[in-house]
Amino acid sequence: MTGDEALVLRDVRRCFGRTVALDGASCTVRRGTIHALLGENGAGKTTLMRIAFGLLQPDAGELRLDGVPTTLRSSRDAIARGVGMVHQHFMLVPAMTVAENVALGAHGRYDRDATAARIVAIGRDSGLVLDPAARVADLPVGAQQRLEIIKALAQDARVLLLDEPTAVLSPAESVALLRWLRRYAESGGTVVLITHKLRDACAFADDVTVLRRGRTVLAGRFNDLTEVSVVAALVGDIESPRETPGVGAPGGAGDTAPVLQLDGVDYLDARGVMRLRAATLSVCAGEVLGVIGVEGAGQRELLRILAGRLAPTRGRATRPARVGFIPEDRVHDALIPALSLTENFALAQAGSAHGSLPWTRLRRATEEVVRAFDVRTDSTETPARELSGGNQQKFIVGRERVFGGMALVAENPTRGLDHRATRRVLDEIARSQESRAQAIVLYSSDLDEVLSVATRVVACFNGTVREVPASADPTDRSPYTRALMGAC
């Protein structure tokens, strides 16, 4: 029944130079449903959705909207036909207000009051409330994402394409967003959800399409599929989960000297807000200190002080000369997109090394990282920007492991990574714990991830840092969730 199909992509092919990004990718999205688009890093999910939004043109294949074969020359065409997209990296102008961002792309006179009224009306109808006069740069990430959806709704989008929308959200925010999408679909809207989180997809989506290496390998309704079959389609072959030591495992503090140490550290940000107060902690080699906290609780500053990227306002931070650091926003903070992998590799020690660059040795070391961390790339001379997000992250993790020396600080290192890559990163962290080679600090917005590798856990709440005592029952999560809310 074609009248039921809001968006159909059939046998889409798209190449970038010699790289085939999509070949035989198909996806049929029924109106009024949430459709999960799953696949590993670099499987072509984002490329396929960029085609559906008119930002890319397919080399071959068919696109149908509401059953009508359509050619989209630009995003303007897609918007005119009721398609809206929420990009993984937000497409907002930080220097502008909420209202100005919503009004972007229209014609004629820009009426501030009318736009503000529209935003208020959308807020009333959808529950997505934002202050139209607020500057986007001042909004937290969750609110920026709301704005992206409001933008699409203001353009009367009937099909919403969301690329990894929960990657940047706290668990509570993620659930709220997914519930909202559910209601939106029930009221007749159509949603395509690109996600890595299989659990979210199972819980909230009606249908699923799985891409692997640019090709659709599974499509159907969740009701007709088992979780195992979806995972099998995702990863091709299934590895058994690794046994990780987990919290409370032996071999923690005490028998080695602390590598990282904070003593009564306060941090005031540029606006004079106290982000961290009286933080005291120490991490020894062989320990994995798990950090948990909701957005803005102080973990961002805590990690940067430990990594030597920020200086404490008061108090003392002791750390080795070089600390490996995996920042959350890899594109901005960890890589120079235009430089090759080898050059990016060399950059990690650019501040301390002198003289000419030993290219042969660097290239060999880069090749080693590419192989050991399964970075998918043509060569080590490929510019970093040509790698998919997940492969960029794997490269950064590998590089920081090599250069980190005695200490490694990781901030959401599995953000945007697929199952296999996530496991790989966590395994690497667990392995260095076993070999007692490094002191590791790991923050993740996924509590399970932290608990699976950390030997101790501290919780950030409102700028304070407190150790969470290990519970007698390892399956009991309540001490951690309580600590996240600020209770002891």
Binding site: R76, P94, A95, L104, G105, A106, Y110, K151
Partner: protein
């Protein structure tokens, strides 16, 4: 006595500021779209010659049209290189400035011979606005000027309003801040920048036309005298706002006009000092304001 000195000084300040403000407003629009138009100096000198030739053929009105067209024309070369061929903005801008300076000199010599002023026009006369020009001190300075100055008075609030209150203005600013976001919103950043640059070129041409038709009455090689680069500094000092830019332009006009005031006072300082003053002022103010400006985030990319 004071009034006798101040009135001509202020009049000269506004007169000198007018062409600078035109060029700077054009540059403002270009920069808000994300392009630094270093070819502005070339557009100004092209506007000078275009205005002279056209006015020689058909009077001052055609002269202004010629100036606008010449400025927009040479800036179209810059736009083609920067937007369509994606060459470096600094390189392309410098090349277009050199092209403008060289080409106008060659054309002028070809048309009117190489000896001295080949074509001298009478400059357009100031028009006193009845009533307003009678206000003491500021009256004559602001309201006994030529038509281009009055056009400027309209243009400044109009550009400010357009940037803030039209979707086209919003699209322009979004392109300058974050062109991917603009594109995702259905805006065509290249088209926006083409429009912005043609406008900037036309205003650069208007700057040149005003110099020739309202102030000098003839053409000389290199008569733009760095105004394009001063205009770029004016945009920075004006914090990328239309009113700020106009105000900064007035400040530079005053710096130029100081030489008349000092001459009238009979101070016998070397005239080179006064000529250098606006340029020294540019450097000094840029040093003072460093790091405090709020440039469009995508400028130059």
């Amino acid at each position: 006595m004071m009034e006798l000195l101040l009135v001509p000084f202020m009049e000269a300040a506004v007169r000198t500021a007018t062409p600078l403000a035109f060029a700077a407003l054009g540059e403002l629009v270009a920069e808000r779209s994300g392009v630094i138009n270093l070819g502005l100096e070339g557009a100004i000198i092209a506007g000078c010659l275009g205005a002279l030739v056209a006015a020689g053929l058909g009077g001052p009105l055609l002269g202004f049209v010629g100036g606008l067209a010449a400025g927009a024309g040479i800036t179209a070369v810059f736009a083609y290189f920067v937007i369509s061929l994606r060459t470096d903005q600094i390189l392309a801008g410098t090349a277009v400035t050199m092209l403008g300076l060289g080409l106008t000199g060659a054309i002028y010599r070809g048309l009117y011979g190489s000896g001295g002023a080949g074509l001298v026009l009478s400059t357009i006369a100031p028009i006193a606005i009845p009533g307003l020009s009678a206000i003491p001190l500021v009256g004559p300075a602001l309201f006994r000027q030529t038509v281009p100055t009055y056009a400027l008075y309209l243009m400044v609030p109009l550009i400010a309003w357009w940037l803030r209150n039209t979707h086209a203005g919003l699209a322009l600013r979004a392109t300058g801040e974050h062109h991917e976001a603009a594109e995702a919103a259905g805006i065509a950043p290249r088209r926006v920048r083409w429009g912005a640059l043609l406008f900037a070129g036309a205003l650069g041409g208007l700057c040149g036309a005003t110099l020739v038709l309202a102030q000098v009455g003839t053409f000389s090689e290199g008569m733009s005298a760095g105004r394009g680069f001063i205009a770029i500094a004016i945009v920075v000092l004006g914090r990328w706002s239309a009113f700020g830019t106009a105000l900064a332009a007035l400040g530079f006009g005053a710096a130029f006009a100081l030489q008349y005031l000092f001459q009238a006072l009979g101070w016998s300082l070397p005239y080179q000092l006064f000529i250098a003053l606006p340029y020294v002022l540019t450097l000094a103010l840029l040093a003072l304001l460093r790091g405090r400006a709020t440039a469009p985030a995508g400028l130059g990319s």
